[in-house]
């Protein structure tokens, strides 16, 4: 059924004649805090804060980056240790952290100094991610308090991963994997990848992990089963070096690191709705979907715990 919506999107252009921009009154805007926080095994918590914008608000780079806010008090606790996170801003970044900060905010490292963009994190390892623990987040901002919790669940490794050429092609194919899902428990998964074979610049082809088109899945259909499945190459779409017949595929000889993370059910619900909204935005066949946050107090966003495992795939027959 979930395949039906993309299908209807595909066929609809055959039927309608045109679309045009209109200016129409959309009531109901209310400024809200957006919390984008995550923690994963062996890593510190990282929290970004921003404010929601009116649908007709300016959308240039300045407006986008100025939606991030600072001056909040952010606390993370694992039940036994409680730490107030440090506010680290782009205009006073520790040396060597520019690339990471640029990736976090999605802007070139050269632009960082032009903006006052802040993230909240800590070097105190007592609240870094550990499997099996629950992490509590508290954000105090402008007199309001927002709280949330997330769990780092026990990870599940892939049984195997392999590559095989698609159709008649001999050099392009999807990444395949086999997973043995654990029976009688809820299992939610997140799939990310990066290619580590060296590019012409002498660097690994991808510096960071990238999510696939629909990176989250759970075991509603396959609880306790072992089966093979495939995923596309999400980096290929914007990679000018990959010809059209190779879009979506890995090339023979690619080396791919697969990062498979486990998530709890509440988090899966958030991401399922989030990707449903991204994929169905503008589709009249879809229900307008507000994404169900796991944060109390009236904020948008998510506080997410991940427990990743890694697997390296060499794309050979």
């Amino acid at each position: 059924m979930k395949k039906l919506l993309p299908l209807l999107i595909l066929i609809f252009p055959f039927l309608f004649s045109c679309s045009k921009e209109v200016k129409i009154d959309i009531p109901g805007y209310e400024e809200q805090l957006c919390i984008d926080g995550s923690i994963e095994t062996g890593m510190p918590p990282i929290v970004l804060l921003s404010k929601s914008q009116d649908i007709y608000a300016p959308t240039n780079l300045d407006a986008f980056l100025n939606s991030f806010i600072s001056g909040a008090t952010v606390t993370v606790s694992n039940g036994s240790s409680t730490v107030v996170l440090d506010e680290i801003c782009t205009d006073n970044l520790p040396a060597g952290s520019e690339e990471l900060a640029a990736q976090l905010f999605g802007i070139p490292a050269t632009e960082l100094a032009n903006y006052h963009l802040c993230a909240y994190t800590t070097l105190n390892t007592s609240v870094w991610g550990e499997v099996g623990k629950t992490y509590y987040l508290t954000v105090n901002f402008e007199g309001k308090t927002y709280t949330s919790s997330t769990q780092i669940v026990t990870p599940t490794n892939l049984t195997s991963s392999f590559w095989k050429p698609d159709g008649n092609s001999t050099e392009w194919g999807y990444s395949w994997a086999s997973i043995a899902d654990q029976a009688n428990q809820y299992d939610g998964y997140k799939w990310e990848v990066k290619r580590i074979n060296i590019g012409i610049d002498g660097q690994p082809r991808d510096a960071f992990f990238t999510k696939t088109y629909n990176p989250f899945f759970d075991d509603a259909f396959f609880d306790g089963l072992t089966f093979d499945f495939f995923y596309e190459n999400p980096m290929s779409w914007d990679d000018p070096a990959i010809p059209s017949e190779g879009k979506g595929f890995y090339h023979l000889g690619d080396s791919v690191v697969i990062k498979l993370s486990k998530v709890d059910e509440k988090l899966f619900n958030y991401y399922e709705k989030k990707f449903a909204q991204i994929q169905t935005a503008g589709n009249p066949f879809a229900t307008p979907t507000n994404i169900p946050t796991n944060i109390t107090g009236g904020a948008l966003g998510v506080w997410a715990g991940f427990s990743p495992t890694y697997d390296t795939l060499y794309c050979v027959q």
């Binding site: 959308t59 509603a220 259909f221």
Partner: protein
């Protein structure tokens, strides 16, 4: 038991009154085809009393013994008068002849004075032959699109087949084809109706004051009757259109005893796509078509018995594939309806109709990509039995009573999926079984000359029976549980009384006031995840969790005719209250009901609607048509939606204006026009955006708080008929004479959306560009479906 006693007292009282009276009864049929005439009038001018034929052409009129001149009238037919000696009961059947002149006129109904005299409020009968002269979208004559031009009725969306009546949802309309329920009355995702106009005889819409013999839906009844077939001679008619063609064959099984009609229709969209998409294309094999087939047989077993067998089968088939991606989708859906009816005339006052219908609607979706395959099915199947009696004790009373029961089988959603050899656990298909039954009685009677009342009572029952598995979903920390009902276990029982009442107060020959009240239970629901109607919408019965919808409607109207009934006007005011309405929870996604009950995803609320409707109609003359205007408001309140605040229904329209006109220039040329103006539909759009993990996300504002631009459109048509007569040399007289042609044809040119108005079909928020490049922007876009669309159809008949 009390009800039975009531019936007994009721009918014995009529029997004692009837001793000094005589009855004339019989059947009125069309002299040309032998078709039963529905709604023909039998009138005694000296007594100013009359009767009307029922759906099967039967009439019964009981008066004081005496000699009377009786008139027989029917729209488009020559009136017939005859003197009868009613010192004893008389049985009289008559075949009425048509007048060519009247047949070509574009009118809704030519029952002059009917709208003043009857107790019918909120009811409109459409003449199919007249509908055919109105502008048709892509050349397809469409009954439902014509209904959407009536006051109080609005379309779901541009081109859509779903319709909303006085603030009710599309599932609140009972659509009947020869008494079989039609669950999905649309082809091609809603752009065309399943009703092939060539096979349809009559259309009756009841939008208020629903009589007690109808039930199961809250808003309206759309009763469509198929042609019976010509029992005099064989006839063929058909049409060649832009996207489809149709053909109908009818004729006698045995002359004047029985007849048949077979009618088929098919689109060529798949053939056009096949020609347009070369075999080398990755999309070769993609296509769409629909077809439908109507069949009807009838046979007179004797003067008092007649049987009918009706069938409809229609299917839509959508196929989409991409060889490149090894991806294929097949999506078939369709209705199948079969109805068997037996008419028996117990006496000249008591008419019985026994009905058995089978109705089936199935939707399927299958997708395969590489080794992964998924198949989804949903559907509903009904088996119905009904016995309906019409009893005519005197001219002052017309009684109907009966019983009916329906066995429903629902399959809201069943999924199977596999990857290579691994079959996924998609849960047990959710099948739901239920019985819906009713007993009813109603009497239309003249209290005084001025006051006429139709009072009825319907008692309905609903049983949800096993097998059934109830899933109880825990929260994050509580495990889900389930418990099972065995075959035949009663899961839930509902029942209720549904009083129905309508009346007419005659002010004078040209003015009347009418009023109506109806209370309805609705035990089946249509749930939709999308903003537009789709074949994927799910029919779902009442369960222990989903209670029956309940609604009441009160209507008051003033009716007036002008210039010897040439013009008819009316104003109707209504208020409607609705309880236990259902919607999906906010954020529900397709597939969430797997390993679960669909009703766990539903939320429940109430609604109300009110409005005023103006209707002005010209029925005779060269220029005919109507003007309708509706001011209406319809709102909903769900504790679990929109933070519990009241919100407008998605089809809440404040203003709705329609103008329909037909002009007959001469016997060969007819013009048609229709214009519609409506306040834009409501919808929910995001009121703000925010960013998470560099993804732009939207936050939606209040439900249905945005209103689209107004909708307006003008359609025009012109129909050119061939000459009805041909010249022939008469060898006997040596003169050239005119002979009526056996083969008749016409060209019908329609133009949809003449001034190319870009009407909104839906709006969406689009984002495009790149923040870093400085060209990122968020815009609201309006999608327009149909520009100006001319179409040409050639129709023939011989």
């Amino acid at each position: 038991m009390r009800l039975l006693l009531l019936f007994f007292i009721f009918f014995t009282s009529f029997a004692s009154l009837a001793q000094q009276k005589s009855t004339i009864s019989g059947y009125l049929t069309d002299a040309k085809s032998g078709e039963a005439l529905i709604g023909a009038k039998v009138y005694i001018p000296s007594l100013k009393v009359g009767a009307e034929t029922n759906t099967y052409g039967f009439y019964s009129l009981t008066v004081e013994k005496g000699i009377y001149t009786i008139e027989f009238r029917f729209s488009g037919m020559s009136n017939y008068s005859k003197e009868f000696d009613l010192s004893q009961d008389v049985s009289f059947n008559y075949e009425m002849g048509s007048t060519e002149k009247q047949l070509q006129e574009v009118v809704i109904s030519a029952k002059k004075g009917e709208n003043i005299n009857s107790t019918k409020i909120g009811q409109i009968e459409l003449d199919v032959e007249k509908i055919k002269t109105l502008p048709a979208f892509m050349g397809e004559v469409d009954i439902i699109k014509t209904i959407q031009l009536l006051p109080g009725v609005s379309s779901v969306s541009e081109g859509g087949q779903g319709f909303y009546v006085r603030g009710g949802g599309p599932d609140q309309n009972l659509v009947l084809l020869d008494e079989g329920v039609v669950y999905n009355a649309a082809h091609l995702f809603g752009f065309f109706s399943v009703f092939n106009a060539d096979a349809v005889k009559s259309v009756n819409l009841i939008k208020g004051g629903m009589p007690a013999n109808y039930g199961g839906r809250m808003a309206s009844v759309l009763e469509v009757n198929m042609n019976e077939g010509n029992n005099k001679k064989f006839k063929v008619k058909g049409g060649l259109g832009v996207i489809s063609s149709r053909i109908t064959v009818e004729g006698p099984l045995k002359k004047d005893k029985g007849s048949f009609i077979v009618s088929g229709r098919r689109t060529y969209i798949d053939l056009i796509m096949k020609a347009a998409i070369p075999d080398s294309s990755p999309f070769a094999g993609s296509g769409y078509y629909f077809y439908d087939l109507n069949l009807k047989l009838n046979y007179r077993l004797g003067p008092k018995d007649r049987i009918f067998l009706s069938g409809y089968y229609g299917k839509d088939q959508f196929t989409f594939g991409s060889k490149e991606d090894d991806f294929k989708v097949e999506m078939p859906w369709g209705n199948g309806i079969a109805a068997f009816r037996w008419n028996h005339q117990f006496s000249n006052k008591l008419f019985m109709n026994v009905i058995t219908t089978f109705s089936d609607y199935q939707f399927s979706f299958g997708s395969a990509q590489d080794e992964f395959q998924i198949k989804l099915k949903s559907g509903v199947r009904d088996l119905t039995g009904k016995v309906d009696f019409s009893y005519y004790p005197s001219t002052r009373h017309k009684v109907k009573f009966g019983v009916e029961t329906v066995y429903h089988t629902f399959n809201p959603s069943s999924v199977s999926a596999q990857s290579q050899d691994v079959v996924f656990d998609t849960g047990t298909p959710e099948m739901l079984y239920s019985f819906e039954s009713a007993i009813y009685a109603m009497d239309e009677f003249d209290v005084t000359e001025k006051l006429k009342i139709n009072a009825g009572l319907r008692y309905s029952m609903f049983q949800h029976v096993g097998p059934f598995t109830r899933y109880v979903n825990g929260d994050i920390s509580t495990p889900d549980t389930s418990f099972t009902y065995s075959n035949g276990d009663i899961v839930k029982f509902y029942d209720g009384l549904e009083p129905r009442f309508s009346g007419r107060w005659l002010l004078n020959d040209n003015n009347s006031i009418k009023f109506g009240y109806s209370y309805n239970y609705q035990y089946v629901h249509l749930t939709s995840l999308s903003a537009v109607s789709l074949p994927t919408d799910i029919w779902y019965p009442s369960t222990d969790k989903a209670k029956p919808q309940k609604g009441w409607q009160g209507t008051v109207g003033y009716f007036r005719n002008f210039f010897k009934n040439q013009y008819e006007g009316s104003v109707e005011v209504y208020y409607k209250g609705m309880k236990n309405l259902i919607e999906f929870k906010e954020g529900a996604l397709p597939g969430d009901n797997l390993n679960d009950n669909t009703d766990n995803l539903l939320v429940f609320g109430e609604g109300w609607a009110y409005g005023i409707e103006f209707f002005f109609k010209k029925s005779v003359g060269k220029l005919t048509g109507w003007i309708g205007y509706t001011w209406a408001k319809t709102e909903r309140k769900f504790p679990d939606l929109n933070n519990g605040n009241v919100f407008p229904a998605k089809y809440d329209r404040r203003h709705d204006l329609t103008v329909v006109a037909g002009y007959k220039l001469n016997d060969r040329l007819t013009f048609g026009a229709s214009f519609i103006y409506a306040t834009g539909n409501t919808l929910t759009l995001p009121s703000s955006w925010y960013v998470q993990e560099q993804n732009l996300l939207f936050n939606y504002g209040a439900r249905n708080s945005t209103r689209m631009a107004p909708y307006h459109r003008l359609d025009l048509s012109v129909t050119l008929y061939d000459k009805a007569f041909k010249k022939k040399y008469d060898e006997v007289t040596g003169e050239t004479i005119q002979v009526k042609k056996n083969f008749r044809s016409n060209w019908s040119l329609s133009c949809y959306n003449v001034y190319n108005r870009a009407n909104p079909f839906f709006l969406y928020v689009d984002n495009d560009g790149d923040f870093l490049k400085g060209d990122f922007k968020i815009t609201v876009k309006q999608v327009t479906l149909f520009p100006i669309i001319p179409s040409l159809t050639w129709n023939f008949e011989f």
